[in-house]
Symmetry: C2
Subunit: 179 residues, 2 copies
């Protein structure tokens, strides 16, 4: 594998650490990871998992998001609409309320997005067995699904957003060649 470069995450961590003038062992201790492992991470020999990354971020007292971005784990340009940021930044609501709002908003976004392609296509007679598409995207009937375990989504209003089926072609590719 040769581990070409798992991204500059290691460099970034070492950068932040040396800048903070703390030793590898100190950071490892405060981050709760072992010193050798941190060493390997910093030199790109190991690819830390999210937990470790989070702990390192805490140990460095930097933003986890910054680390995730550096690790290329969040690089996907999220729809950074200020709505979501406003929701996340708002401190006058509880976490649950925040989550509900985010869920609703994302459901709306997803719904809108899956309606973009030309209608039909996946409703044609080619019998997509799994998709089956009850109602499809146009009617957007809110109460067509039994909703197995409705936990997070419990808005009082009945207009819960239901996302339309995703006409993703059944790509059989499972093996992902990465890294």
């Amino acid at each position: 594998m040769a581990l070409p470069k798992v991204g500059s995450i290691g460099e970034y961590i070492r950068e932040q650490r040396t800048q903070a003038k703390i030793s590898l062992r100190q950071l490892a201790a405060s981050a709760g990871v072992s010193n050798p492992y941190l060493s390997q991470i910093e030199r790109g020999l190991r690819k830390p998992s999210a937990e470790i990354l989070n702990q390192i971020a805490k140990g460095l007292q930097i933003s986890s998001q910054a680390l995730y971005v550096q690790a290329g784990l969040i690089e996907d340009r999220e729809p950074d609409s200020d709505v979501l940021t406003a929701i996340r930044a708002d401190r006058n609501i509880t976490e649950r309320q925040r989550q509900v709002l985010i869920d609703i908003y994302e459901s709306f976004r997803k719904e809108n997005r899956s309606e973009t392609p030309a209608e039909g296509a996946w409703t044609t007679g080619d019998a997509h067995p799994a998709a089956e598409s009850p109602g499809g995207g146009t009617d957007s009937s809110p109460d067509d699904t039994p909703s197995p375990e409705d936990r997070v989504t419990t808005p009082e209003d009945g207009g819960s957003p239901k996302a339309a089926a995703k006409p993703k072609t059944s790509n059989r590719k499972t093996r992902r060649t990465d890294q």
Copy 2:
């Protein structure tokens, strides 16, 4: 109990998946993970790493941050200031510039926070990399790809506020987390 509760991340994923009316295999395919693994993730039998989590988020077309928050990996409490959210929400700057701004801001925060009693720590003439004012000469390169070797640290100015965190905590034993 052998498998610790990894949080409701699996539940959340399954929730989103069923909401989107896509099958487990479909999501696994579009996310680039194997079906059985996704099944185990959804039931909390496995703890997906950040990459897998990111892939799943992409497959679900939902926010990665939402997943990370659900996974308890982002804490969601760091960006408690609208400054950061404003920076992140601003779309008139490149990713690089945004990162620089965030780094600077975090450096300031860290400086303020670690400047508890006993001042005279940051005056030791160390150079703080991120806390450099990019000035007007910021590269307006439309390229927003985080280059690996191009670290944000480019100290050239000496008159910027320095942040030197000199934690009094001496070496601390590496705590081991049972697991």
